[in-house]
């Protein structure tokens, strides 16, 4: 196997052989190996907990963004009803940004979920192998001569070492994913901190800096289309009485169905 498989095998063997560096006395080697294995299993558990924490943080952010999308959609509809087209446009631009971020988060949460599953499966296998090693080490200690024991130890430790390297790889991939996610999560937090998804009725009438930036971020044709659609929908349903837009007040409580990003 000269291709990918060959290269990967070489990497794995190098890693495992590092695990097998051992002392002279077989009994001591066995106990020491086992102790190390148990320690590393603890590290794996901690690694999984970190991935779960990262995922939960993203999911909370998702929930907040979803609420913002609903709120901004409602406000846009109310603004259209009362003929405040500029305000409706602002709300839709912000909704657009929120939806784009939401889709990004969705993908990342799903990826993280997959990594977490792999990590958990791999940890389970590692735990089973460590347990098998524990049993085998007692047998080796009791039954084999020093020379023979060395061979048996090497055999038994290879299986554990390989699984350990594999968990390590799964963990590294999960950590890489969470690193990528931090960047997006930070971006969302910055938008939130800037008041991007706040109640638009709290804004003054003038266009502020956030609005100018958002216009660049959000895709303008999508906003135009949605505004036109909203106007025709609301127009078709008989012109509702013009009303002041109040925060959270509620004509359109329905979840927006389309993603225009």
């Amino acid at each position: 196997m000269a291709g990918l498989t060959g290269r990967m095998s070489t990497v794995m063997k190098a890693k495992v052989s590092k695990l097998l560096d051992r002392a002279e006395d077989p009994a001591e080697t066995l106990d020491y190996s086992y102790q190390k294995q148990v320690e590393q299993l603890q590290n794996v558990k901690k690694g999984i907990a970190d991935v779960v924490t990262a995922k939960k943080r993203l999911q909370m952010q998702e929930a907040t963004l979803k609420q913002s999308v609903v709120k901004l959609d409602t406000q846009a509809r109310q603004a259209v009803s009362s003929g405040q087209e500029d305000l409706a446009r602002t709300a839709l631009e912000r909704k657009n940004v929120a939806q784009t971020e939401l889709q990004g988060l969705d993908t990342q949460v799903a990826e993280l979920e997959e990594q977490q599953q792999k990590l958990t499966d791999s940890e389970q296998k590692l735990r089973a192998k460590i347990e098998a090693f524990r049993t085998k080490k007692e047998v080796i200690k009791a039954q084999y001569s020093a020379a023979e024991a060395q061979v048996r130890i090497s055999e038994a430790a290879t299986g554990v070492g390989e699984q350990m390297a594999d968990v390590g790889l799964a963990m590294q991939r999960a950590v890489d994913k969470t690193e990528n996610m931090k960047a997006r999560a930070d971006a969302v937090s910055e938008l939130e901190a800037a008041g991007t998804f706040d109640d638009i009725t709290a804004l003054g009438s003038g266009e502020d800096d956030i609005d100018r930036q958002l216009k660049q971020l959000s895709s303008q044709p999508a906003v135009d289309d949605e505004l036109a659609k909203m106007k025709s929908e609301i127009g078709a349903g008989g012109a509702p009485p013009a009303e002041q837009i109040g925060p959270g007040g509620g004509a359109a409580a329905d979840e927006p169905k389309e993603h225009t990003a």
Binding site: L4, M8, S9, V11, V44, A132, T158, G159, V167, M171
Partner: protein, 92 residues
């Protein structure tokens, strides 16, 4: 022969499957060299499927080492192009 699919598990496969595995491995490598991500992913998925369908998954407590280790199923073209290295618990 025992084959490990990284981050997934170990499978025992019969020697008869080796030739096909080798052919697919070469096709995958060719796709990587050509920088064709789509072809590479399709090819690699086929290779993994061969192992999963022809092979028998090892018991978790089986302590045998693998004769061959494959990269993880979600390997990217970029990773395949670079020297794929597995970072892990074991320090380099």
């Amino acid at each position: 022969m025992i084959v490990r699919i990284s981050t997934e598990g170990q499978y025992e496969i019969k020697d008869e499957a080796l030739e096909r595995l080798n052919e697919l491995d070469n096709s995958c490598q060719a796709a990587v060299d050509a920088g064709d991500g789509e072809r590479f992913h399709a090819c690699y998925e086929k290779l993994l499927e061969l192992i999963r369908s022809e092979g028998t998954e090892l018991e978790d407590a089986d302590l045998r080492g693998s004769d061959l280790t494959l990269p993880p199923p979600d390997i990217t073209l970029e990773e395949a192009q670079g020297e794929f290295s597995a970072h892990g618990l074991i320090p380099d």
